[in-house]
Symmetry: C2
Subunit: 189 residues, 2 copies
């Protein structure tokens, strides 16, 4: 059950088998259905999730009812509503699994206890933050000045499975395009 998570941990730091077991023991399995919502807008996020199977999506709905996808985590990735989780404040976003999924979840309290007591785990958290920061920057700034076609080429290049895995509608809302435009342009390669 914790195989994938253990691999994740081993790939990032030197940790003894015992520490790894100890860390893993704080993660519990949660099975979810397609389109199941884990966190509603306005709720405070209490868990960090590791995706064992399936896919986690972070999104918002603006005042006009328009959905915007912010982030997707697939197998082997971590995800949560980070601003809410960090600041312990109501989220301005939703968290859902877009497929039937298996998540390993850890509570906020346990998470920060591990961060503060196991230096290696603190390091992993720092890496997650650093990487998250960099990835977000790259996506955003990489997109700056891109037209619709360039954005599509960009995802195909950087996340080859993305368009296959995610619905046209969600992909469009991630790229900041209308579903029609994405559909039209995909038809032209």
């Amino acid at each position: 059950m914790h195989t994938l998570l253990k691999t994740f941990l081993k790939n990032r730091t030197q940790l003894t088998e015992d520490s790894i077991e100890f860390i893993c023991s704080h993660f519990t399995l949660r099975k979810t259905r397609r389109n199941q919502i884990l966190l509603h807008y306005g709720e405070t996020c209490q868990h960090y999730y590791f995706v064992n199977k399936g896919c986690l999506r972070l999104y918002t709905i603006n005042k006009d009812g328009l959905e915007t996808s912010r982030f997707f985590a697939f197998e082997g990735g971590f995800g949560t509503a980070l601003p809410s989780f960090i600041e312990h404040s109501p989220a301005f976003e939703y968290l859902q699994t877009i497929e039937a999924s298996e998540l390993l979840q850890i509570s906020r309290a346990d998470f920060y206890t591990l961060v503060d007591t196991i230096p290696q785990f603190g390091l992993i958290y720092r890496q997650i933050l650093e990487l998250g920061f960099i990835t977000a920057q790259k996506r955003i700034y990489g997109f700056q000045g891109f037209d619709a076609l360039e954005k599509i080429r960009w995802v195909i290049q950087h996340q080859p499975d993305f368009l296959r895995r995610v619905s046209n509608k969600m992909a469009a809302s991630y790229l900041g395009l209308s579903p029609s435009t994405l559909s039209r342009l995909k038809a032209k390669l």
Copy 2:
């Protein structure tokens, strides 16, 4: 010379006077001119900067020669080309002071030594990362679905001094608008 930095540190954690002095002793003063470039595209960023006076800008120039401003740090703020600094790799951006400025700079090596040896400083770094992450998210996702006028209202609301302090051109490149559009819309309040 280190007054502002000390205030910054004191506001964020409990640190003894000695630790604060010790931390500050690693920051050296650097005076720069208007439009002086501190880091060129392709160079590896070796310093973290604290702005004592003036303003630091992070920007890129794309293949068509178009400038995009990514981030501004004013008095009392930290700034650097974070992806390059973190990954110790060539930057895909420039760093400059857009006014004559006084910066307190710390070398990458010293910075990470402090992070690793003074837990409180590690905590401050974590806070900077968390905050940077959240701020970036808010700016980006806050802008999603905003039209030009809404973006302008957003900065006026959240960074009232910004439009006054920064040239029309730079503000436009930060907001993802053309200078003409920004100019036109400012005229209509």
